[in-house]
């Protein structure tokens, strides 16, 4: 890779061992993908829950903090994905002291490196959405696909070590979705119907992700009339990224690189028309029972408007089984102030902040609470939780709230 003078100085250790290791890691990844050089990035976003990190990962973070204060501090705004707990409600989840201790150690290490603990996977709704053409280094697949597709920003999936490296060097290898040639569509889909609910948008995104092949195949969707709105696009993209490892999609007439169909090189691509029944079949494939142990709204964290909608559905209800709603630390105070939290919790639900359900020791909290059959309106989550031993089922927010009251999905 071609390195400029500053990058060569970093690699030589002239800016300290932390930046030296960071850029060495980036060069290894960049050379693997054939990157010609580095590209400056304006923000970094780190996914680093401790179920993923484990003791070894936390020790690695702590080892970085043993370097001098100035040398270890990130050079660009660097923020975090959800943590593995809500410290105020960890006992309710059945998390152990060891889990909480590991979380606290990871947070302490990040803070020493100057990382801003935003603890959110909806930073594009709550912190600062990137601008069109802005190069960033974002972790969390849902964050990346939204930023690339809806905002027109430029990011690859940056795993935790690489996102932290980008924070420490202020750059990332220039490959993949930083380059124009990788942003053209490779798969073409069309719908002649419109999803009505967040779970339907998620199921459609999941279907497209599943049929898109791999990370490098950019799907384009035609036939969407009118902008679906941020929350629908959030669920659509997050599920697509989860089912397909997809980091960028185009939606003709909606997303900024596809405002006009002629802006995309797609005329040669065969069109795959997606019928509503196919998407509903994907959703239905998870529906193996009517019995439900727990209802969860998470993945991505709920926006204020989703919390508002959920609160409206919870009015005058009494839940028979746990209902967990997970939002960001930025949204939670507003939800409290506007009375949404009280409405949800009066019905027997719980509003969590700063975590995400599947990143919070999902297997262990299932065993601690006797949870197996889980209802959610998140297509992303049903794709993930099977591996953690759950039987996840996808339904609308309304159906999930009703299930919390009866213990059954209608």
């Amino acid at each position: 890779m071609k390195l400029n003078a500053e990058e060569q100085a970093m690699l030589a250790g002239e800016l300290g061992p932390v930046r030296q290791a960071a850029i060495a890691h980036q060069i290894q990844v960049g050379e693997f993908f054939g990157a010609a050089d580095m590209v400056p990035v304006s923000q970094s976003h780190i996914m680093a829950d401790t179920e993923s990190l484990g003791e070894a990962g936390v020790e690695w973070l702590e080892s970085l903090t043993k370097n001098g204060g100035k040398e270890r501090v990130v050079r660009i705004p660097t923020i975090t994905d959800p943590r593995g707990t809500d410290f105020n409600k960890a006992k309710q989840l059945g998390q152990t002291d060891q889990m909480i201790s590991l979380e606290r150690r990871a947070i302490a290490a990040f803070v020493k490196m100057g990382v801003s603990m935003t603890d959110t996977c909806i930073n594009y709704q709550t912190i600062m959405a990137p601008g069109f053409g802005e190069h960033v280094a974002f972790g969390d697949t849902g964050v990346v696909i939204y930023s690339n597709s809806i905002c027109g920003a430029r990011s690859n999936f940056e795993g935790g070590p690489s996102a932290l490296a980008a924070g420490q060097t202020g750059r990332t290898p220039r490959y993949g979705f930083h380059l124009d040639q990788h942003r053209q569509p490779g798969r073409r889909f069309r719908i002649n119907w419109r999803p009505q609910t967040l779970n339907e948008w998620g199921a459609l995104g999941g279907f497209i992700g599943k049929h898109s092949g791999n990370y490098w195949e950019v799907p384009v969707l035609e036939g969407v009339e009118g902008n679906p709105g941020s929350d629908s696009l959030k669920h659509f993209g997050a599920a697509m990224a989860s089912f397909g490892s997809t980091a960028l999609f185009h939606m003709v007439g909606i997303t900024p690189e596809a405002i006009r169909a002629q802006d995309l090189n797609m005329a040669h691509l065969p069109v795959r028309t997606i019928e509503r029944a196919e998407v509903m079949a994907l959703q239905g494939s998870y529906r193996v029972t009517d019995e439900v142990d727990v209802v969860v709204f998470s993945a991505p964290q709920l926006s204020l408007l989703e919390i508002r909608d959920l609160a409206a559905l919870c009015e005058d209800r009494k839940f028979k089984i746990p209902l967990l709603a997970v939002t960001s630390p930025q949204v939670k105070p507003d939800a409290d102030r506007m009375g949404y939290t009280e409405t949800i919790e009066s019905a027997g639900g719980t509003v969590f902040a700063g975590m995400c359900f599947y990143q919070s020791y999902a297997r262990e909290i299932a065993e601690a609470n006797g949870w197996k059959r889980l209802a959610t309106n998140s297509a992303k989550m049903v794709n993930i939780l099977g591996g953690y031993g759950y039987t996840p089922m996808l339904a609308s927010m309304e159906e999930c709230v009703a299930a919390a009251e009866t213990g059954r999905l209608a």
């Binding site: 890691h25 290894q28 990844v29 693997f32 993908f33 054939g34 996914m47 680093a48 829950d49 993923s52 990190l53 484990g54 003791e55 070894a56 990962g57 690695w60 972790g139 969390d140 697949t141 690859n156 999936f157 940056e158 795993g159 935790g160 070590p161 690489s162 993949g176 092949g213 791999n214 990370y215 490098w216 990224a241 989860s242 089912f243 397909g244 490892s245 980091a247 599947y358 990143q359 297997r363 794709n383 993930i384 099977g386 591996g387 953690y388 031993g389």
Partner: protein
């Protein structure tokens, strides 16, 4: 197929020789594995129930979220990890994770590598030459 050599477009890590698990399926450390037990745990995965420790995984593509970038390092710290991973196509997460953990990885072939290599074959991976050789 013994002796056959396949060349990849992307490679990193050290030379490795081990038995493989091959399947035309994706891979995510979070979605597909019980990392505490060292086996594939997603019921729908074609390698469901099988132990991956010490094996070369030959799979179609990297799937899912960013957690795998941390998880490979964590798996290696407990000495319960695949010897190497070979993909038809890889995403940045698995490549970043392999770089962080020091796990050998190859990706990008002119054939469908999951069809070309039978599960149970013994393989030698040489990242310096970007090759995977079927030994027996």
């Amino acid at each position: 197929m013994t002796g056959k050599i396949f060349t990849a477009r992307h490679a990193m890590g050290q030379q490795v020789e081990a038995e493989c698990l091959s399947a035309n399926d994706g891979f995510s450390a979070r979605y597909d594995l019980n990392r505490l037990e060292g086996r594939f745990s997603r019921p729908a995965h074609k390698l469901f129930g099988q132990s991956y420790h010490g094996k070369i995984l030959v799979l179609d593509t990297a799937k899912g979220g960013v957690a795998s970038a941390w998880m490979l390092y964590e798996m290696k710290s407990r000495n319960l990890y695949p010897a190497a991973i070979v993909f038809n196509t890889v995403n940045p997460i698995l490549a970043q994770g392999a770089a962080h953990a020091g796990i050998t990885m190859l990706a990008g072939f002119d054939v469908n590598i999951t069809e070309a290599i039978a599960s149970g074959s013994r393989l030698r991976i040489d990242p310096a030459h970007k090759t995977v050789q079927v030994l027996d």
